[in-house]
Symmetry: C2
Subunit: 146 residues, 2 copies
């Protein structure tokens, strides 16, 4: 278990690789990096990750049974949670309830950086079907990027 993870500046950490998030063939523009700031262990089944979305980028529109909590660490943006779009600024925190469609977007001129707290044991995200997209509120449909 790593005990101390030292911040090097500009939201990078000592010994923590900067990973590309979900870069799969055919994936649309997303521009997200991921850094894992704690290891899963039998003693601590919670993980802290730092994500950063470049201006104009966005996270995958998805839902899952597991809950996660997000804490904004840098910049600003917006998120969809269920039917509602929220503005996001430094130190805001968002708890995504089970099976709730959500998406984060860096809507401003700065990157949107956020910490995400999640259980190590979790289900895989679900992607929306055409039916799911149709069922979204109009304001949510205007907001999302697929």
């Amino acid at each position: 278990m790593r005990t101390f993870v030292h911040h090097l500046g500009n939201h990078t950490w000592e010994g923590v690789p900067i990973l590309k998030y979900k870069e799969e063939p055919g994936t649309h523009f997303k521009q997200i990096t991921r850094q894992v700031l704690s290891d899963c262990s039998p003693d601590f089944k919670t993980q802290l990750r730092y994500f950063e979305i470049a201006p104009g980028g966005y996270s995958t529109l998805e839902r899952h049974q597991h809950v996660h909590q997000v804490l904004i660490g840098r910049g600003s943006g917006h998120c969809l949670v269920g039917g509602q779009v929220h503005p996001l600024a430094m130190h805001d925190t968002v708890i995504i309830p089970p099976l709730t469609w959500h998406q984060f977007r860096a809507t401003g001129s700065d990157p949107l950086g956020f910490y995400c707290i999640v259980n190590c044991d979790r289900d895989r995200p679900q992607l929306p079907s055409a039916e799911d997209l149709k069922a979204l509120a109009p304001s949510a449909r205007d907001f999302i990027r697929i």
Copy 2:
């Protein structure tokens, strides 16, 4: 379950009371506040809290079986983890292993603010006996405040 906890400025949040931390009769100078930024629920058994220690203040020297992860959110300071004293600055993160003596101190002229991620189900902290204090490394003994 609260979904959105909006930051009001100066590390205070909408609808989140600022609690005094462990103010018991006979307690020494500590100067800590606590704000709870998520509720425990069957769906999410992890809690995010924000603590702030005034300059010169310190957390209780304690240990427990449960692990917690700390993320520095404001100012600077030092912490003891086991036998070692670490400097702390913004965005550093510290994972406290099981049954490891630890204490946070706001050693600078600014408050030391930090987020703490912890399981909702956890054991109570243990305080050090005179024997435990004697067993600490000399640098740890110099650092601690009881």
